[in-house]
Symmetry: C2
Subunit: 279 residues, 2 copies
């Protein structure tokens, strides 16, 4: 069986950086926790827990030691509370997310109504909007929702870093009609579209597609959805254990990709497992 | 013969203001000229000349007295030269054009590459771009030309006040792909689209359409073009004299509109002439 493994499979820049900071801090600190899971990979979070990094849900529950801020970032209030408590902060917020937070803060400080193109319930989005203080803020996942934004003299737009460009484009189109001044910071990170483009290319060439990543990872779910639209025999797995040899009946070529928060060792295990299957 | 006269026919706010300033200044000044024709109406320019307001093409040719700056505005250099020469300036620049000039200046001072949606040879456009100093400036009439703009970190967009919104929309769409930060000032004045919309409505209801205005007026030419697409029996005239009774054979209803620089007395003369025609 031939395997095509996506070059862009696995950790993006921000996740790689956050993970490396977390392991380094685990080695150098006695008491350390992460505020929320550091990335959306249960397997990696477990490895960090083995090294003493516990996951804590709320700032109120942290009383001493160091705190790792996850790659998706946290809210401005949470960041302030950590400082007030005098806790040591290991800020592993992805630098691209940080830029989006800074732009939201800039737009609000200059009096723009802030529109964030993204998914309301995503922690990255909740973090970014928290930096837009004292102005109206609208989180819109798509053009239809953007139509509900009231007219305003000044509208500022930022995007969740993993959004498709087409979403940003459509929301900008609506906001142009609704304002006299429109300021857009394109805070979308190319890693997502590069990964998606490569996954689509591979899905077109194979008989079966495997997408590896946390079931709680938005970008992995989206990747699996895109692949299944091209190749109905697409399977989303978190680890190699879930792979069922029965899936591979009549399969000559297998495509493999992985979300931005999927550790390399899990990708390696999947490749090993598939390679070991009898054709 | 029934006549439908457009409510929006004739002077817009900026032209009304400029004309009124010009006549007032003619009364109160011994020596006065206008730098370029004050508005695109040869008939009105003639009336002003009778009151002593000569039209001068270049600042170099003005040596004393007062200078009226036309509704379309002039370049920053011309304005500076007038000041250097110690001439009294009657600034009849349309306030909406002034806003576009100010925004071009603001964008350039903040380091944006400036994109102006408009017609390169129009005096308003030449005025606006002159305020964008020290940065790259691109005048684009449409989306196709916008594709030629190079990628840039920061792109700022302003529009000629008489542009169709759809042009701005399409250029913004292109610029979004070409920048990380995009700042758009929608400097389009609604008067043009209101006038065009009403003209289209009337053209649909009539057997013949008259569009009155200077042959050198871009907005009047555009108005005539839009009407002729709906009603092929559309005639563009500058004055009542040009009206030929032969045009009206079999005509029951006549629509009349006029460009933004068409004086009321010319519209009145046309309405009188058409009313006096035998059906």
């Amino acid at each position: 069986m031939k395997i095509i493994l996506a070059k862009s499979a696995g950790f993006c820049f921000g996740v790689k950086r956050a993970t490396s900071m977390a392991f380094d801090s685990a080695d150098s600190h006695e008491r350390i926790c992460s505020l929320g899971p550091i990335i959306h990979s249960p397997q990696l979070v477990e490895k960090l827990e083995e090294k003493g990094v516990s996951v804590v849900g709320r700032v109120e529950d942290i009383h001493e030691g160091a705190v790792i801020v996850r790659s998706h970032g946290i809210t401005a209030d949470e960041m302030a509370d950590l400082a007030t408590k005098g806790l040591e902060v290991v800020d592993a917020t992805c630098p691209f997310v940080k830029i989006a937070q800074d732009h939201a803060a800039l737009l609000s400080s200059e009096g723009y109504v802030v529109v964030l193109v993204g998914e309301e319930e995503h922690p990255e989005v909740q973090g970014i909007v928290s930096y837009a203080a004292g102005v109206d803020v609208y989180v819109v996942p798509d053009q239809a929702k953007a139509e509900g934004i009231p007219r305003s003299k000044k509208i500022g737009v930022v995007a969740q870093t993993t959004q498709p460009f087409e979403n940003l484009r459509q929301v900008v189109d609506v906001c142009l009609r609704k304002s006299k001044e429109l300021r857009v910071f394109n805070t979308i990170c190319d890693a997502t579209s590069v990964r998606q483009g490569e996954a689509r290319d591979i899905a077109r060439q194979v008989d079966l597609m495997l997408v590896i990543g946390g079931f709680n990872s938005a970008n992995t779910n989206r990747l699996a959805q895109l692949c299944s639209e091209i190749q109905p025999r697409t399977y989303h797995v978190e680890t190699a254990i879930e792979i069922d040899s029965a899936w591979f009946d009549g399969v000559q070529t297998v495509g493999i990709t992985a979300g931005a928060s999927t550790p390399q060792w899990i990708i390696d295990e999947v490749v090993d497992r598939v390679s070991g299957l009898k054709k």
